[in-house]
């Protein structure tokens, strides 16, 4: 599914943000990504969601070498990746429904199906009564749920989430984790970047730790 070989990343002529990264994510796997702020988690995720190419090494996603994928083929690959951004990146002028519908509309899904799926998912994440609310009128937790719904609406093969439960209470966090688990059970490969040790402790999935640009696998008792 995803393979990193000796990957390094730097911005311009600056120091390497990521270095010597080796990683293999099997299809249908579930990982947590941890590490202190500034360790390079967001940069690492940006390689995974095809926002940038590595400055060295080989990144292979869905069997394709990122360095050689023609630009015209990136949209089709990106449609197989769902991303929950730490800052949500919701479009302020669109309603919750239209924000979540965006990936489907971009993919050319017929509008009647868009409405059906989006309403169902937003209702599932507890926003059935906020379908037409603009992001500015939603709380941080509600915005986060809209962002998560947008990331999973296309049933992606790879789901990346940057602090997806950072702004919600425990009850909603558990509910969202159930959503991720459900997608994982259906075959989606999941990686969640988090600072929340309780979230990790509640599950049996492996933890990858990024520190000073280097990635290590954290040994966990009974890890999957």
């Amino acid at each position: 599914m995803v393979r990193f070989e000796n990957v390094g990343l730097r911005y311009g002529l600056g120091p390497e943000i990521l270095r010597d990264i080796y990683l293999e994510l099997a299809p249908g796997s579930f990982h947590f990504l941890t590490g202190p702020s500034g360790a390079g988690k967001s940069s690492f995720l940006s390689l995974l969601y095809l926002s940038r190419r590595p400055t060295r090494g080989i990144v292979t996603i869905f069997g394709r070498d990122l360095a050689t994928i023609p630009r015209a083929e990136l949209p089709a690959l990106r449609r197989q990746i769902g991303v929950v951004f730490q800052d949500f990146r919701l479009l302020a002028h669109l309603s919750a429904l239209d924000n979540v519908a965006l990936p489907l509309r971009v993919a050319g899904v017929p509008e009647e199906k868009v409405q059906e799926h989006v309403v169902e998912l937003l209702t599932w994440v507890g926003l059935g009564d906020q379908l037409h609310a603009k992001p500015a009128t939603l709380s941080g937790g509600q915005q986060q749920r809209v962002a998560i719904a947008r990331a999973v609406i296309t049933r992606p093969r790879l789901l990346l989430a940057d602090e997806p439960t950072g702004n919600v209470d425990d009850r909603i966090a558990v509910r969202l984790m159930h959503l991720f688990e459900e997608l994982h059970r259906l075959g989606t490969t999941v990686m969640i970047a988090t600072h929340n040790p309780a979230l990790i402790a509640r599950s049996r999935h492996p933890e990858l730790r990024l520190e000073a640009g280097s990635l290590t696998r954290v040994a966990r008792l009974g890890a999957a």
């Binding site: 991303v83 519908a101 947008r150």
Partner: protein, 303 residues
């Protein structure tokens, strides 16, 4: 986006448009820029079409006619006019030969001698207006020689020199009009390009998000092109309507200022107006196409 299919696709509404292009200040001004460009292009094109049509009419009108001038000395003999007319009417190429009345001659001389009328004592040459059979030609020099035998000093003017100068002027006017249309088109393309680039800069975050969720460049270009089409259509129609009102005003209020002596008054035909309706549509299509190309070229440089 190619052909009319692409244009029609732009007119179809897209639900939940991801880009908020109407809020950009520069785009609001684009309406007026397109309106001004369409106004100028419409006037220039109308000028070119009218001059082209008129040049053809002038050519046909003047090539099919002659003006014969019987000098004052010859008019002393009352028989000479009849002889000249008889000779002219006997020519196979001549359809009609009529002497101009003294009142009509006075009318033609009015710009120089005033409108008070000709003094009875003022000697004026006798003019004869000759109309040729359509398509027929006559050798002016040979005719002049034959006429001189019955009326010495007679001159035959087939308007050739004047007509050539007039046609050269008409060609020049048409070229200037075409140059104006080309310049206006280039200026419109530059304006739309700059406006689109401003829009791209303002919408950078939204565009980045669209790319990350799998939008192709053409999806984003479609958004910009659709907006530019709307703006172009609005501006184009305003500019076109203003130009048409200006033209109507010019012909209604211009009156005799548009007369050119013996020549018919220039007037755009209905075909010209039909052709001109293409201008606002072309302006809108040009805006959409320019926006589309600008976006695609810009996005191609991103990952």
């Amino acid at each position: 986006m190619t052909g009319f299919g692409g244009l029609f696709a732009l007119l179809s509404p897209r639900t939940g448009s991801a880009l908020q292009l109407r809020r950009s200040e520069s785009r609001l001004r684009l309406d007026w820029i397109v309106a001004a460009m369409t106004f100028l292009a419409t006037l220039a094109l109308l000028g070119a079409l009218t001059v082209g049509k008129q040049a053809g009419q002038w050519r046909d009108g003047l090539r099919g006619s002659l003006t014969i001038e019987l000098p004052v000395t010859a008019t002393a003999d009352p028989q000479s006019l009849d002889k000249v007319l008889a000779l002219l009417r006997a020519e196979p190429a001549v359809a009609r030969a009529e002497p101009l009345s003294r009142a009509r001659v006075a009318e033609l001389l009015a710009p120089w001698l005033g409108t008070a009328g000709l003094s009875e004592t003022l000697p004026v040459p006798q003019l004869i207006d000759v109309a040729l059979i359509p398509g027929a030609r006559i050798d002016a020099a040979s005719l002049s020689q034959r006429l001189a035998a019955v009326a010495p000093g007679i001159t035959v003017d087939d308007h050739g020199r004047w007509l050539n100068e007039l046609l050269r002027l008409a060609t020049l006017a048409t070229l200037v009009a075409v140059a104006i249309v080309v310049i206006v088109t280039l200026a419109a393309v530059i304006a739309v390009t700059l406006s689109t680039r401003a829009g791209l800069a303002l919408q950078q975050q939204a565009i980045g998000l669209l790319h990350l969720i799998g939008a192709e460049d053409r999806y984003i270009a479609h958004e910009f092109a659709r907006d530019a089409l709307t703006v172009g259509l609005r501006g184009g129609l305003v500019g076109f309507a203003t130009a048409v009102l200006t033209i109507i005003g010019l012909f209604v209020l211009g009156g005799s200022a548009l007369e050119f002596g013996l020549l018919p008054r220039p007037a755009p035909g209905p075909l010209a107006f039909i052709l001109l309706t293409v201008v606002p549509l072309a302006a809108a299509a040009l805006c959409a196409l320019t926006a589309w190309v600008t976006v695609v070229l810009d996005l191609r440089q991103r990952i």
